[in-house]
């Protein structure tokens, strides 16, 4: 379940703070470049794709994740027909008559591409950065300590509780003589099935509660006093600063060019 892919690439070795800031800036740039500025799309994706290759984490794996945004693309599909502009296609569906415009297609493709590129940037970040390092980066970016501590605990126990959820699901499947992959398809009304699933959610809640109590005791035993303390962060090395400034500079140039030519 942990998406991190261990490796020794330059991307892995870059400081998490640099990677987090660059990734967000990259996604922001992607969001800001104008609709239909194809050369900019090509450039941005080329940069990202080079980094994916450089990271050596498997292009296929990254692409696989990027499919996640596909269902949402449906929401943007109507733009093809509702945007006014040069008509390129008229579909006559009996009573229904829709016209696709080139502006609409441009808009739709741009949104789809933006989303597809952004999701790959986020994927590359999490594939090459261990989550504890991302937490440290969040701390460096002044996210409140308490929130970062909650994220940390959540991440630590995500795997433990997900395991318990899977066991609960398996137990249900075993009792119901079902494959267990899709939940229960045989027998029982919808509300009965929901009740079973709800019961599992309830028992998961109780397990979480009990576990948090035990963790609390373990924390107390090691001196926890209600305050969140953590090891101070090391300073960002000059080489990392250079990478960050260089990266942000490139994004800035892309933004500038796209504003000049397509603004």
């Amino acid at each position: 379940m942990d998406p991190y892919q261990a490796g020794y690439s330059p991307v892995h070795h870059t400081d998490a703070r640099v990677k987090v800031v660059f990734s967000v800036a990259f996604i922001l740039t992607t969001a800001l470049i104008p609709i239909g500025s194809w050369p900019m799309f090509v450039l941005l994706y080329a940069i990202l794709f080079s980094l994916i290759i450089l990271a050596d984490v498997g292009v296929g794996r990254v692409l696989q994740r990027s499919i996640l945004a596909v269902p949402f693309v449906l929401a943007a599909l109507p733009l093809v027909f509702t945007t006014s502009g040069e008509q390129i296609l008229i579909l006559d569906l009996g009573l229904w008559r829709v016209t696709a415009t080139s502006e609409g297609v441009e808009k739709f493709l741009s949104i789809g591409l933006k989303s597809w590129i952004s999701i790959q940037a986020a994927t590359l970040l999490i594939f090459t950065t261990q989550f504890p390092d991302i937490l440290a980066a969040l701390r460096a970016l002044r996210v409140p300590r308490l929130l970062v501590a909650i994220f940390g605990l959540m991440w630590r126990y995500l795997f433990v509780l997900a395991d318990e959820a899977i066991k609960l699901r398996r137990a249900r499947a075993a009792r119901s003589g079902d494959s267990g992959i899709r939940g229960m398809n045989k027998g029982g009304s919808v509300s009965w099935r929901a009740k079973i699933a709800g019961g599992m959610a309830g028992s998961l809640f109780i397990r979480s509660l009990d576990r948090s109590e035990r963790i609390y005791v373990a924390m107390l035993s090691r001196g926890y006093d209600g305050e969140v303390r953590s090891i101070p962060l090391s300073r960002l090395k000059p080489s990392q600063w250079t990478i960050l400034i260089f990266g942000l500079g490139i994004l800035g140039i892309i933004m500038l060019i796209s504003a000049l030519f397509w603004g």
Partner: protein
């Protein structure tokens, strides 16, 4: 010379009225390694939680000459290193380093000392390479060792372990036993693992229904089959 742990007339009841400890008295010398045995529900875990003031019953507990009470909790918890049964509860930080550094950090030690303590205690459990690993990928045996490191880093006088060998495969169990044997600390260990008791502990305390029913040399008590049977224990071969 004071005792490492001195318990006098300790009784404890849970808020729901369940009486878990009845007039328990026990003294443990510095450097002594004591096994705490008894059937399920005997009150072993409850007793251990009283040692560092997580639970507070009637009676008195003194740790290294310091009485366990509200004002001394901070120091007591640093002196009593408590290792819980489930390492998943003990290792609550995302990364091994942060977990081992947790105790020293909350003791308010300077950063350099914290780093020293972390590398010392990881070395003590032969896990030096694991500092940057994330806890959820570790095996049970590795987690147990790291869990011990998380309290060693506080430089405790007494090491308290609740069922340390539960859930370990034979090899991990053996290596944990060797580790416990080597650690030069006062130790009080609650366990159902009778061979472990026989191997490692010269002294054994039997607890049943909240009371100490026997306290003596392990090899003598182990020979008393009637005593063992009466309290749901088995003699190891």
């Amino acid at each position: 010379m004071h005792h490492s742990i001195e318990i006098e007339g300790l009784s404890f009841s849970y808020p729901d009225g369940q009486e878990a400890l009845r007039d328990v008295s026990l003294a443990i010398q510095p450097g002594e390694k004591v096994a705490l045995v008894g059937p399920n529900g005997a009150g072993k875990s409850t007793l251990l939680l009283n040692l560092n003031g997580i639970l507070a019953g009637n009676g008195s507990i003194t740790v290294c000459g310091l009485r366990v009470e509200k004002e001394t909790l901070g120091r007591v918890r640093a002196m009593v290193g408590m290792v819980f049964q489930s390492p998943d509860d003990q290792l609550f930080s995302p990364r091994v380093f942060d977990d081992v550094a947790y105790g020293p950090l909350y003791q308010g030690l300077p950063l350099e000392t914290v780093h020293e303590r972390v590398s010392e205690s990881l070395a003590a459990v032969s896990m030096s390479d694991y500092a940057q690993r994330v806890s959820h990928h570790l095996s049970m045996g590795e987690k147990k060792r790291i869990a011990i490191a998380t309290v060693l880093s506080m430089n405790p006088e007494v090491l308290v372990l609740d069922e340390p060998t539960a859930g370990l495969d034979p090899r991990a169990r053996r290596s944990l036993i060797n580790l416990l044997d080597e650690l030069p600390l006062t130790m009080i260990v609650s366990t159902h693992d009778m061979p472990l008791v026989k191997d490692l502990f010269a002294r054994m305390v039997i607890l049943d229904r909240g009371s100490v029913v026997a306290d003596g040399a392990t090899n003598e008590l182990m020979d008393d089959i009637h005593l063992l049977e009466a309290h749901g224990l088995e003699r190891p071969y």
